[in-house]
């Protein structure tokens, strides 16, 4: 085990990035994630001589990420909802050009300028594709400051393994709050060198490398799309991560991710105390989504509740997994409000009584 600290989620993420041997970070300030850039400008260059650049905008940031990733660098950007929306074209390009990189969305309440308080309103954008075209991001949803740190290294490893952008979808509360975090040791930046496909200069011993997402001929473009889809099937096969608590004997299951999963866990405990057999499924990868896990559970439970800080987004994936075998409810708060365990308990009780 490494080094125990009390840190903000945003700072833990930034510290973890330095330790994971990040080569470059490009970003633009926005509440509630500015601490990432602030922490990095304080700490990163002096420690590993990596590049930390405050870009003129999120659009510049994501395209700098494109350039650096295309040159084989271990690169990251972070922002919050409105800034992530601005990056959608760039993200689609990155996915199309199959560039490994790490994106972070510290989700705040929308739509529009909205509020800077925590939200999970960007689920659809993250997992169904907010940009144009058929592409997928690998989406990791931390629920603790510890995971804010851990998922950085894991995110980059996944990105490199599949040449695919990885998104850490978190929220303002997880970004701003301080918790214990156990930090991993520093990785040497030299440890990883640029992959063979990267544009590092065409040496005599190889053909030139090209980073592009343009395939003007439909036949070609379709081949590219098919290759991407194949890759996505492979990722769905290999990389689903999910946490199950008390699902074996459960006859009712709460499905929640990130901050909501913490509430969900509390709700589960409260209801278990009252003798109700409630379980929790926490998707850790939002894409690929743990349809299987939920589907299996649907065999023996009486109902599900999707608990989200939005108007009902992930609940569609739960329904797709359950596929009509039992009722799937949704409980959500919006606008930056975190549901209290008590209100969810009541919600489940009423739903439960209907099911009986």
């Amino acid at each position: 085990m490494g080094e125990l600290r009390l840190m903000k989620g945003n700072e833990a993420l930034a510290e973890a990035a330095i330790r994971a041997g990040m080569d470059a970070y490009f970003g633009y300030p926005i509440t509630p994630q500015s601490e990432v850039l602030e922490y990095l400008t304080r700490e990163a260059y002096r420690r590993t001589e990596c590049t930390i650049l405050q870009a003129e905008s999120e659009i510049a940031s994501i395209n700098m990420v494109y350039g650096a990733a295309g040159a084989g660098a271990r690169v990251m950007t972070s922002s919050s909802s409105p800034g992530i929306s601005l990056m959608q074209e760039g993200i689609s390009y990155i996915a199309g050009a199959e560039l490994p990189c790490l994106l972070v969305n510290v989700n705040r309440g929308g739509p529009g300028l909205g509020t800077i308080q925590p939200s999970q309103g960007d689920y659809f954008q993250s997992v169904k594709g907010g940009g144009h075209g058929d592409y997928r991001l690998i989406v990791l949803a931390p629920a603790t400051v510890q995971e804010m740190a851990d998922f950085v290294q894991e995110g980059w490893d996944l990105a490199d393994k599949y040449r695919n952008p990885v998104l850490i979808l978190t929220d303002g509360a997880l970004g701003q709050m301080m918790e214990k975090v156990d930090l991993r040791p520093q990785v040497d930046r030299k440890a990883h060198d640029a992959p063979g496909w990267a544009t590092t200069g065409k040496t005599g011993d190889r053909e030139r490398n090209i980073i592009t997402s343009l395939f003007i001929k439909p036949e070609e473009m379709e081949q590219v799309n098919l290759r991407l889809q194949e890759k996505y099937r492979l990722i769905e096969k290999n990389e689903i991560r999910v946490q199950e608590i008390n699902t074996e004997d459960a006859d009712f299951i709460i499905v929640a991710y990130g901050l909501s999963a913490r509430i969900g866990r509390k709700v589960m405990e409260l209801l278990r105390d009252e003798g109700m057999k409630v379980g929790l499924i926490r998707p850790i990868t939002l894409w690929p989504y743990p349809y299987e896990t939920i589907s299996k559970a649907a065999e023996h439970v009486k109902g599900f509740l999707a608990l989200e800080m939005n108007a009902g987004q992930m609940v569609e994936d739960v329904r797709l997994a359950v596929n009509g075998r039992c009722p799937v409810g949704h409980y959500g708060r919006m606008g930056g409000i975190i549901p209290s365990p008590e209100e969810v308990v009541d919600e489940i009780k009423t739903m439960y009584s209907k099911i009986q």
């Binding site: 590049t51 510049a60 494109y66 350039g67 650096a68 065409k202 490398n209 090209i210």
Partner: protein
């Protein structure tokens, strides 16, 4: 004049080649329209890379525009940037590889319309890259719409009655603006419509590339070019039109040149 088309005898093997396609330019048919300046610009840029012997250290960034396929022709590592973002992409590359040679190649729509913010800030940061700016006063790839650089009363597919200043503003001299920024190290405007201009333009590209090594700021080379297809002219006419209409508004020459000292204590 009327040529009496008698056959000419060639004795190539008794002669030496004094000018040929550079090895850095792939031997592929370019998709450009007949007489398009992009082809010349491509060639002299690649000649510069060849002459400097930096093919292995050079990374190019293609724009979205007719030159989107530059990477089909230039025999170097290249990235295709989103429309307008080439300089941001170049920044991303250069910041990770400060010792490589990085250039962008962009049209007027790409660099001076949608990419204005990235262009201004890249130069203001003084990124040590070369920006090649092909100004043909029109959006070529998409079929001839107005560009920021479209001339007053010039007809395009989106200014069918000519560009009207009150509605669309004046043609944007972005190169003059950028020359004001301290981050700019070398700023010049060239053209490729005559042999003499082609020679000068190539020299400018040579400087723009090699001066990156000094790490003293951005080099910016505008090349006033043509678009016979969307101007609706034959290539030869288009170069005349360029001479008579574009050059008066976009006069050729250097706007910012490094001093002797700056070049010496590199």
């Amino acid at each position: 004049m009327e040529h009496n088309m008698q056959e000419i005898e060639h004795h190539y093997d008794e002669m030496e080649i004094i000018c040929e396609r550079p090895a850095t330019l792939l031997d592929a048919r370019m998709h450009y329209c007949p007489g398009c300046g992009h082809g010349v610009a491509h060639r002299i840029l690649m000649e510069a890379v060849e002459e400097l012997g930096i093919q292995e250290q050079t990374i190019g960034v293609a724009p979205v525009g007719c030159s989107v396929f530059a990477y089909h022709y230039m025999n170097i590592d290249m990235q295709e940037a989103a429309h307008g973002r080439a300089t941001a992409v170049a920044t991303g590359i250069k910041r990770c590889y400060p010792d490589k040679y990085v250039f962008t190649y962009q049209g007027d729509g790409d660099l001076a319309a949608i990419g204005t913010g990235e262009t201004v800030h890249t130069v203001n940061r003084g990124e040590n890259v070369l920006i090649v700016f092909i100004n043909n006063a029109i959006y070529g790839m998409t079929g001839g719409q107005m560009a920021p650089t479209t001339l007053i009363s010039q007809k395009t597919s989106t200014t069918p009655y000519g560009r009207e200043v009150p509605f669309m503003g004046n043609p944007l001299k972005i190169t003059e603006l950028l020359a004001q920024l301290p981050g700019a190290f070398y700023v010049t405007r060239q053209a490729v419509n005559t042999p003499a201009n082609v020679r000068k333009a190539k020299k400018a590209l040579l400087n723009g590339l090699k001066w990156q090594a000094l790490k003293k700021g951005t080099c910016f080379v505008e090349i006033v070019s043509n678009c016979p297809t969307n101007w609706g002219m034959k290539p030869v006419e288009s170069n005349q039109w360029l001479e008579e209409n574009m050059l008066p508004y976009y006069p050729l020459g250097d706007m910012k040149v490094p001093s002797k000292e700056e070049l010496e204590n590199g």
